[in-house]
Symmetry: C2
Subunit: 236 residues, 2 copies
C-alpha cells in the first residue's frame, strides 16, 4: 500500500515540520503540499531526521495535481457528521481501515488547514470522508495530531517490521521455562492437585506477561538458581 | 478508567499546548507536569478550547508526587528495546492495551523530554515500559504525536460516546432497503437464479458500505423513484 499525504493550505511551520517527521516515522511514500502558507525554511527546523522526505516534498497549486495516479482518495475532517449534509457522512477511522484492507494499492489522504480544514469543494474531490472519533465536547484535533493517528493505524495495517520492540519468546522457550517452574513446584508441593493448580496458574501468569527473549533468559537464570539451591538443601 | 498524563520536563511550549488540547480531545482526566521548562504563558496560546484542562494542570517538582493514587504507571519511550538491557524490554502499544482491558482503574502515562526522553531512573518508577512501533530507520516520534496516538487508542478502549461520526443504519433499515432493491430486480430480471445472484451482490455491496442513516434515506428515495418509474412504464 503506497501512501501519499496531501496537506492542503497548511499554515503552521512547526506543524508542517512535525508532520514530515511523523511521515518518516510511519513510512509514508510521498508528501504533496497544495498552496502551503507555512514557511518552509522554518518548517525544516522541525523535521529532525526526516530531511530526505522533506527534500522530496512536491508543491502544487491545484489539488487535482496532487491526486494523480492514486486508487483511493480520502478527505479528513473533525466535522464528520452534519445532520442532512450529504458531504458530512464520514466513516470512523476504524471503519475506513476495514475497507482499506481489501486490496487498495495507493492511497492519498487529504488534511486541511489548521484554521478552517478542507473546503466543501476539496472534500468533493475525495472518494471518502474519514473522521477520528473524539470527545463530543471538543472533537477538533490539531492537524499534526490527526496525521500521527492516521499514519500509525495505517502503519500497523501494512505490517512493517519494527526494531524498537524487543523480540518475544516462542513456544519452545515458553515450555522450557514452564518445565523449570514445574520442577520447583514438585520439590516444594507434595499434594498433586495443588501442584497442578500452581502449574496452571504459573502458565497463565507467565503467558500473559508476554516475556521478551531477554526477560525470559533472566527468569530462567532465577528459576535455575532456586532449583539448584533446593536440590542442594534436599540432598544436604 | 481514569487517565493521568504526566509530562516530565517538557521543553516545548507549543508541544505542551497541543498536548493539553489532545488530552481534552480524548477525555484525559488529569495532567501533571514534573519540572516543566516550557513557557506556560506561551503554551496557553495552543490549547484552543481546552483551557479548562490547562487551568487544572498540576505542577510538581518530584516525579513521585505525580504518581500518587494510581493503579498502574507506564513509562513511554521510542527506545523500547536494548539488547541485554532489562529496562528496555518494552511492550508494544497494542500489547499494552490488551493488559489494560483487564480491570485497571487508574493509569498514569509518563512522557519524557523532547530532547532526551525519560531518564533510566524515571523509567524505573513505572510498572511497564510501552513503545509505539515505528519505522526502524527512524522510530523516534515527536512527544505530542506520541501522546495523540496513545490517547486515541485508550479513548477507543474506554468506549466513549462520540458525535462526530454519523449514526449508522440498523438491521431493519437495511432490510427495508434490500426489499426495495429486490423489487426492482424482479421487474428487470426474469431469470430467477440471476435475480438471486444480483440480490446477494447488492446485499454485500450495501452492507460493506456501512451506510449512515442519512445516506440510507437518500438511497431509499432513489430506489423508490426508479421503482415507480418502472411500474409506470410497465403499466403504460
Amino acid at each position: 500500500l503506497r501512501i501519499r499525504v496531501v496537506l492542503v493550505g497548511i499554515e503552521g511551520s512547526m506543524n508542517l515540520g512535525v508532520i514530515v517527521r511523523t511521515c518518516k516515522n510511519f513510512n509514508v511514500d510521498e508528501i504533496f503540499l497544495v498552496k502551503p502558507s507555512a514557511d518552509l525554511g522554518e518548517a525544516s527546523r522541525y523535521v529532525a531526521k526526516a530531511s530526505d522526505l522533506f527534500e522530496r516534498m512536491i508543491i502544487v497549486d491545484d489539488l487535482e495535481d496532487a491526486l494523480k495516479n492514486i486508487d483511493l482518495v480520502v478527505a479528513t475532517s473533525a466535522k464528520g457528521y452534519g445532520v442532512g449534509d450529504v458531504l458530512r457522512q464520514a466513516l470512523s477511522l476504524d471503519d475506513f481501515l476495514e475497507i482499506i484492507k481489501k486490496g487498495v494499492n495507493s492511497l492519498a489522504i487529504l488534511f486541511g488547514r489548521e484554521s478552517t480544514g478542507l473546503t466543501r469543494d476539496e472534500i468533493m474531490h475525495a472518494d471518502l470522508l474519514v473522521t477520528i472519533p473524539a470527545n463530543p465536547e471538543y472533537p477538533v484535533l490539531n492537524v499534526s495530531q490527526a496525521v500521527a493517528i492516521f499514519l500509525y493505524e495505517l502503519w500497523k495495517l501494512r505490517g512493517f517490521e519494527t526494531t524498537n520492540i524487543p523480540p518475544r519468546i516462542g513456544r519452545s522457550d515458553f515450555e522450557n521455562l514452564m518445565k523449570l517452574v514445574d520442577n520447583i513446584t514438585r520439590m516444594i508441593v507434595s499434594d498433586e492437585a495443588k501442584a497442578k493448580r500452581l502449574s496452571l496458574t504459573w502458565r497463565r501468569v507467565l503467558y500473559r506477561s508476554r516475556l521478551s527473549v531477554y526477560e525470559d533468559r533472566l527468569l530462567v537464570y532465577w528459576f535455575r538458581r532456586v532449583l539448584s539451591r533446593l536440590r542442594r538443601s534436599y540432598s544436604g
